[in-house]
Each structure stands twice: as C-alpha cells, then as structure tokens.
Subunit: 338 residues, 2 copies
Amino acid sequence: MDYREAGVDISAAEAAKVRIKRLAQRTVNASVLSEIGSFGGMFRPDLSSCPNPVLVASCDGVGTKIQVARLLGIHDSVGYDLVAHSVNDILVQGATPLFFLDYIALGKMDPELVESVVSGVARGCAEFSCPLLGGETAEMPGTYAIGDYDLAGFIVGIVDKDKALPQGVRKDDLLLGLPANGLHTNGYSLARRVLFETMGLGVHDHLPELGTTVGQALLATHRAYLAALEPLIERGKVRALAHITGGGFPGNIPRVLPAGLGARIRRGSWEVPALFRMIQKGGDVSEQEMFRTFNMGIGMVAVVAPADLHEVEHSLERRGETSLVIGSVVEGTGVAFE
Amino acid sequence: MDYREAGVDISAAEAAKVRIKRLAQRTVNASVLSEIGSFGGMFRPDLSSCPNPVLVASCDGVGTKIQVARLLGIHDSVGYDLVAHSVNDILVQGATPLFFLDYIALGKMDPELVESVVSGVARGCAEFSCPLLGGETAEMPGTYAIGDYDLAGFIVGIVDKDKALPQGVRKDDLLLGLPANGLHTNGYSLARRVLFETMGLGVHDHLPELGTTVGQALLATHRAYLAALEPLIERGKVRALAHITGGGFPGNIPRVLPAGLGARIRRGSWEVPALFRMIQKGGDVSEQEMFRTFNMGIGMVAVVAPADLHEVEHSLERRGETSLVIGSVVEGTGVAFE
C-alpha cells in the first residue's frame, strides 16, 4: 500500500504547487522575502509612514457559494471573493492589506481546479496590492466529496494606531450605504434552498428580472471598497465602517457603534436588487430574516459626520463609487428600520 | 422559510461565539487591542528589540487526524495540534509567534464541539504566548457531513532580518533530530487505511507494543519545539531547521538547504517508534513511502555546526529535550539514506 492508494497523491500536490507558485509570483512586491513553498512566508513591512503600527488580521471563508461555483464549473471567482471579503473586513478597522494566505481543502487533489481557484485569489491579491505569501492545499479524502472543496483566507493589514477605526462616532452621524454586487459571500445556503429547491430553478435559467442567469447572478463577485474608501480614511473623513456580511444589517452595524448608540435605517432609501426580492418572495422569507441573512444590496456602510457628507460623496463619486444616505446614528441600541 | 430551515443556525453560531470569546480571553496579552468578534483582530507588536522586523506567516490544517478525533469523540487535541504545527512552521524561519487565527467549518453548528476544539487551540495559544486574535466559524450544510468538520490555522510571527533562518548552512554540518510525539499531523489517510481497514483494528483496541490504544496513539499531540530551540536560535547556534511534515524527510529537509547541498541520513541512528513499524508491516508499505509520508519519529531536524554540537546538545538537555545526531549535510541534492 502507498499514500496514493490511501487517497493522497503527493505527486498531484507537487503539480498543484508549481501552478500556485507561478500565480503567486505575479502578486509579490518588494516586501516579500520568501518564495511560495517556504515553511513560513516572510514579509518585511514598510513602517516608514506608520509610527505606531497596528497589525489587523482576519480570517474568512466564502461559505456555500462554492456549491454554485461547482454547479457552473467556474472556480476562479470564489478565489477572488475570498480576497475581496478579507480586504473589506480589515478596512473596517481602517487597515490596508499587507499580505494574504489561503487554505484549500479538497476531496481529491486536482491541480487544474486548484489553479483555477488560486488564479482568482491571485487576481484579487494583485488588484489590492496584497501579495499571496503562502497557503496550504490539503487533500482530505472522506471529509470532502470528490470534486468538492472548501476555502479559507487569511489577511494581515496595517493601520497607524491614531487612524484606526471606529473613531469618534456620534449621534446624528449619517449612514452612507455603498452598493453590493449581488449576495457577496453570505446567505448562500438559504438562497440555494429557495432558488433551486423551492422555486425549482437551475443555474442556467435566464431570468429577465435579473438580466442574466441564476448562476451568474449568484456567482457575482464580492466587491472590495478599498480603493473608494482608503483616501477618505486617510483624511479622517470616515468615522466607522461596517462590512455587511453574515448577520446582515443587525449583525454588523452595531459592532462598530459605541455603547448607547444604534442605527436607524430608512428602508425606502435604496432599491433592494431583484435577486433579493425574488428569494424573499419565492421562499416566503420574512423581511426581518432577509435583513439578518443578506446584505440586501448594501455591501458596506460608512458612518460619516454630517458636515463631511458633501465632501465624502464627492470623493466617492470621483472614484466611480455610488453612495446613498440610508440612515443615521441614534440614541439606543441595535438597528431600527423605519 | 428562514436561514435555520436552510441549515444555518445563526443563534447557535452566536452561542458558539460566546464560548470562543471566553476561551480567547485567556490567551490575550498587552499587544492585543481588539476583542474576538471584531471584523479584524488588532495587534500592536513590540518592535523595541527588533530593529529590522520581518513578519513570518503560515497556514495549515491537521488533515484527516480529525477523523480519529471524531471516532474518539475528543476534539480539543486537534485544536492544540493546529497551533503546535503552526508554531513549528514559523520557527523554521527563526520566528517567534505574535498571534493566531483559526477557521472551523462544520456541517451543523454545534457550540459544544466548537468550544472543545477552540479550548485546545486556546491551550496551545496560551502555552506559546500567541494570542488567539480572531477566526471564523462557518456552518456549511452539504459540504460537511453532520458531525464532521475541518480546521485551518493561521499564524503570524516575527524575526529580526539578521536572525532569520536558514543562515550559513555548510557541508559537514550535523543534522540533529528531535523526537516527535507520534504522527503529529501527517499521513493520517494512509495510517487510518492500514490500521482500520487492512488490519481491522479499532480505536479502542489496546496494543501492548504501543502501550496504549490505537486511538490514543494516533491522537497523540503535535509537539512544538519553540521552548527548546528559541534560546539556541537567539544565540545563533542553529543554522537551519526543517519541520518534518507532509512529504517527510525528502520533502522537508532539502527545503532549507542551499543549492548544491543535500542530506545524508544514518538510518539506524534512532529507533523508529512502534506505531510506524506497525503501519509499515500491516500495510506492506515500502521504506521509501514511509519516509516520504511520515515523520518516522523525528519531528524537527536542526542543522548545527560541528563545533557547536556539544553546546547545543547540552542546552537542549537542560530543557528536557532529547536529541540525536541522525546525519550530516553533504555535497549533492535531496536526501540519501545509508
């Protein structure tokens, strides 16, 4: 007997590593001191403009969006999603990315599948100037079905202690919503259940109200808001950010508000995209459940001082970013809808 | 329909979070600026004794050792393994830990299971002074069977650029082997196949040659070599380290040797533990396959200058660490056994 007969193919793993290495090389910058394949990835941060450096780290997955990727046979976009999600999570603390690592576990080592996933990871890493410093690819027969896999991403960023968010949030500050691109990476178990089972739709069904197929609408990539928000954070024009991920509005906005303050959201202030309404109607999902499961079309909420609103909106507009005032900070707790 | 009916229980996730938070609090130090549950964990490194800081990061899992944990219903030890494995991986670069994050994905959210796993992670984090800064717990019905789960860990450490390893490895340097505690976290798919299927053993079978049950022998925790090796690295007495993980001796020792140099290993220089011999015999596994799949009883190999051998052995002994000269650095490439 050998390792291969037991379901683990070290040669295939080596082939996957070669492909990963090639992709990762496109993401390196001068701070990266090691090659992919070292025991630990080595990164020398430039601390020249950061007198009080704070490292900000986050870990996340893309959930069962992977099952949609499998149905379509398209695996790069979930790789990109993983990076975009992570970039947003540390942006909430005011941090910009330093480097990224990924974990890919699969039932049967498939160098082409791994290459496809990592090509999306590398695309995101290059876009957000966040080198892919390392990672792990694990073949785990039994835990994952053949063809199935899971992904986790780890990001480390940096922020100067004095610029870390949230900072100075007050009553009457405005909540600015930035549009999401579809479901991002949350709520897929519910969305898949409703669309595929209750409604009996298939990934290739083209729906006029979506302007595309069900599969393409579900696979739309997670947007990162780094480019739009970084200059505003740098100038101190954003007091807090909430990345609308698992838990939706009520699960995420209160996390960045000080004790004694809550959020009031004006429900008609933006148009909830058709995909969410379709899931809501098709699955007879309550409005409350929708808002604690999905982003409902708002991927990031920025807390802005009323006096800064005009400048912030103008800056976002110059970078091609739409924004809408969707509510305000009020005395109280949690999220109230009106 | 709601998210819970679709297989994702946000309330159970919240309950798990409360337990994780309590465990993580035991691992914090003065550098940790955030609480578990922040979008990004915030860590302010002490750079006072590190003029040229290099961050060293690594990501890993524990493979199908989880399946042994499931058979025994013991889930904390794989959490500890995850941390110990990661600590060793960055130690290879000479780095000491700053912080740790974990990813736990499971088929059905089970706050007690999550608490058990994280209690092991937290035990490791506390032991290695490596705060648990954050993580992700993902319920993924469909990807994982009910009761099944996967784990990934992510560590960030620090080393001064001038002290980073490998450094100065030369021909005739000695290879010092440090004993492993069982299989650590590699080769479980092959070990399980041979022991449980070919040999028909059960986890509760007590075997005299192991001095314990098959399950306990397989679940033995991954040793970390930080405490034993850190003082030697600090004094420049170690030229390179190789963590014997997936790929075994041939997959790991050459990774830390300069071009043109290889390793010669004297096979009789240490006693291969009974568990490995049992797998080899029971599965009729070739010696070569054993050495590229398992650690064969050596968890870490240190490359040491001949002139430093006595001092290194003495220092290790004072810390209760056994070590054996198992070979040397030779001209050539790869690993040769004699």
